[in-house]
């Protein structure tokens, strides 16, 4: 670590935090806490983007940081909170089985991701290249989280946190994508969240619950 500029060290730190948060989300049963963790991820992401912007002088990353802050720290958690209140699922607890196994699989995934990212990061010109492995790990962990969830909202949070991982990869490994792309992505995420919100209500209306076990009717007959 020594020898790296300070901002790079800070980014590595934030990357580690992101990974930790991803693990925390994997193990978290309660919806409200999940949203908090998601918002925390947003904060970490904003911070890391801002630090990259500061460290490398890429001005458009400041916009990215602002966008992240607004979208992922304020708007999306706010929407989620509102939804939870309106849907009255505040105290929903996920009946997950076997968190230790999930964590174990998560660790294997992290190892795999680091392994996968290693040859790529060797090629990178950026100082923060080693964070790519963490980004992949975050994506994988979110994927795992989506698989293990049986309720609609946690699954969506998993989906959003996957987006976070991707965003982290974009900023830290490549110093950000072109602005127009980032705006487009942000728009898609926002619209998607809105649509999902509408969906939650409709699902609740139809099934009286947001449990995904009701959504298993369409299948091939045995």
């Amino acid at each position: 670590m020594a020898g790296l500029p300070l901002y790079a060290q800070l980014i590595n730190l934030l990357a580690a935090i992101l990974l930790l948060l991803a693990f925390a989300m994997l193990a978290q049963r309660r919806v409200l806490s999940l949203i908090d963790l998601f918002a925390a991820q947003g904060v970490a992401l904003t911070a890391s983007t801002a630090i990259v912007a500061w460290g490398t002088g890429q001005t458009h990353l400041w916009f990215s940081a602002a966008l992240t802050l607004v979208l992922k720290v304020f708007v999306l958690p706010w929407i989620l909170y509102r939804l939870i209140r309106r849907l009255d699922v505040r105290w929903d607890v996920e009946g997950m089985v076997n968190i230790p196994t999930t964590m174990l699989i998560g660790i294997v995934l992290v190892v795999f991701s680091f392994n996968l990212a290693y040859p790529i990061s060797q090629l990178a010109s950026t100082v923060t290249r080693s964070t790519l492995g963490i980004a992949i790990a975050c994506v994988m962990l979110s994927f795992l989280m989506m698989i293990t969830r049986r309720k609609a909202i946690p699954q969506v949070i998993g989906f959003l946190s996957m987006e976070n991982g991707l965003f982290f990869a974009a900023t830290s490994a490549t110093y950000g994508m072109p602005m127009v792309v980032e705006l487009g992505i942000a728009l898609d995420v926002l619209v998607g969240m809105v649509i999902l919100g509408v969906f939650f209500f409709q699902i609740r209306e139809q099934f009286d619950s947001l449990d995904l076990k009701h959504l298993e009717k369409l299948k091939e007959p045995e």
Partner: protein
């Protein structure tokens, strides 16, 4: 330039107008008109590209070459005929009490926006925008799939959203990796996401990164193509959405997603000299063909049936692009065209048939030719066409693909033979009693729109017997681009 703008502007404007005016008597007419204008603009654009060659516009952000312009024309055309079809179809749905005016408003607006996103995906030169547009297409179609708000349609839409959302997130990661690899050569601002630029420097891109990127891209866009084992959303979404949506999903969206895959494949092929990308495509293609064939034989819902058939055909096309080479690529492009025309025609016929029977259950749709020969024959001929019966065009492409496979990938032919046989048995044994025999169906309150069905089938028939030289030159050029 102007044509390009028009191709994108008409559907966008149409969508906004339709969202604003709400459900009026003339809303379907606006929908048709916007689609028609889009189609005309696309045709003009196509002619232009055909005459003057590839076109780069708006600071290289838009790029039109032979490959995508033919898909643009096809998309606009099928979008137009589907709009024509949806006019009486949706009216009958409304009278059957399945839709409220507000939903129709949503339908029309989203239909146009969906067309917009697809055209944007095709026209853009920016791999990132391509991603954004495809995600946009997912969002609009999610709303369309859930239009009926029945439990089944909600479930289908949810699965569609989550699976495609997750899938396409992988594609975003792939795009990031692509950017990561290209940035060193092109600079962060130097258009590292522009396909034309990437294509220029593809030989120097880092193979390791590109391989991994391609895996992510393939899994991502492949989910939208419906490649096995990423296909699970597809039958649900096709079966539960309104029929015009099934038609455009099968006829257009899958094509566009496959277009994205092929664009990426071109880059990877340039960077990784091994058979890597080809083998992946062939493997996914073959798996899709075989698995879809087996799944076809267990269907009870007619729209699900043809949804699986779409998976099968996407598999065939993917396999063809995987084989590569002038003939196979040509065949793949031809197959994209004819599959999209035929499958949408089938969905049109199926839609009316289901309305007539009041159900999508195959067992309860019987004897269509007796009660309404047009729908019956349309369905019968469309089914035979999609099963690869000459003289329809699907056969032409399958002919080229199979004969090429026999020489170049003989190991695959037993699988293809078995799968095509099973698929034929499965589909035809289900459609035959729907078409023939004693009838169970009733009359419809409005005249069904059979024109689009027969126009599509006529085009497919013509393509089976005679491919206009201009079109052939076009395909050949596109096939060359794909490599």
């Amino acid at each position: 330039m102007i044509e390009l703008g028009a191709v994108l502007a008409f559907p966008l404007a149409g969508g906004l107008v339709l969202a604003l005016v709400g459900e009026r008597r003339y809303a379907p007419a606006i929908n048709v008109a916007a689609s028609l204008l889009t189609f005309v603009a696309a045709a003009v654009l196509a002619l232009r590209v055909f005459e003057h060659g590839p076109l780069l516009a708006v600071e290289r952000q838009f790029f039109v070459d032979s490959f995508n312009v033919f898909l643009v024309a096809l998309t606009a055309f099928v979008g137009f005929t589907t709009a024509v079809f949806s006019r009486p179809y949706m009216r009958i749905e409304q009278e059957h009490g399945r839709l409220s005016p507000a939903r129709l408003r949503l339908y029309h607006a989203m239909y146009q926006l969906f067309n917009f996103t697809m055209l944007l995906a095709l026209l853009t030169n920016n791999v990132g925008i391509l991603w954004v547009a495809l995600e946009g297409a997912t969002l609009t179609t999610v709303l369309l799939v859930s239009l009926y708000r029945t439990p089944a349609s909600l479930e289908a839409a949810w699965k569609y959203f989550i699976l495609c959302g997750v899938g396409i997130a992988q594609a975003l990661f792939g795009t990031i990796l692509l950017f990561f690899a290209a940035e060193k050569l092109l600079g962060a601002e130097g258009g590292a996401l522009l396909w034309t630029e990437l294509d220029r420097v593809k030989a120097q891109l880092e193979p390791t990164v590109l391989s991994i990127a391609f895996v992510f891209l393939l899994v991502g866009y492949g989910t939208k193509v419906g490649l096995v084992p990423l296909h699970n959303w597809l039958p649900d979404a096709h079966a539960e959405g309104p029929t015009p949506v099934s038609a455009v999903l099968s006829g257009l969206l899958l094509n566009v997603a496959l277009y994205a895959v092929v664009r990426c494949k071109v880059l990877v092929e340039g960077a990784v000299p091994t058979m890597f990308a080809k083998s992946l495509l062939m493997g996914f293609g073959l798996a899709s063909v075989v698995v879809a064939a087996f799944l076809l034989s267990r269907q009870k819902d007619v729209k699900r049936l043809f949804a699986y058939s779409s998976i099968e055909h996407m598999g065939i096309i993917t396999f063809a692009f995987g084989m590569g080479g002038a003939i196979a690529n040509f065949a793949g492009l031809l197959h994209m065209t004819v599959h999209s025309l035929t499958k949408s025609a089938i969905f049109f016929a199926v839609g009316h048939a289901a309305q007539k029977a009041g159900t999508q259950s195959i067992d309860q749709i019987r004897g269509l030719v007796t009660q309404s020969p047009m729908i019956g024959w349309g369905l019968a001929l469309g089914t035979l066409a999609i099963l690869g019966m000459p003289p329809f065009g699907v056969f032409a492409s399958e002919f080229l693909i199979l004969t090429t496979a026999m020489r170049e990938q003989p190991w695959a032919t037993p699988f293809l033979l078995a799968a095509l046989g099973i698929a034929f048995a499965a589909v035809f044994s289900r459609v035959q009693p729907m078409v023939f025999g004693e009838t169970t169906v009733r009359r419809l309150p409005h005249r069904p729109a059979m024109m689009p069905v027969f126009v599509h089938l006529a085009l497919v028939l013509v393509l089976g017997l005679w491919i206009p030289p201009a079109l052939a030159a076009w395909y050949r050029e596109a096939a060359r681009l794909i490599g």
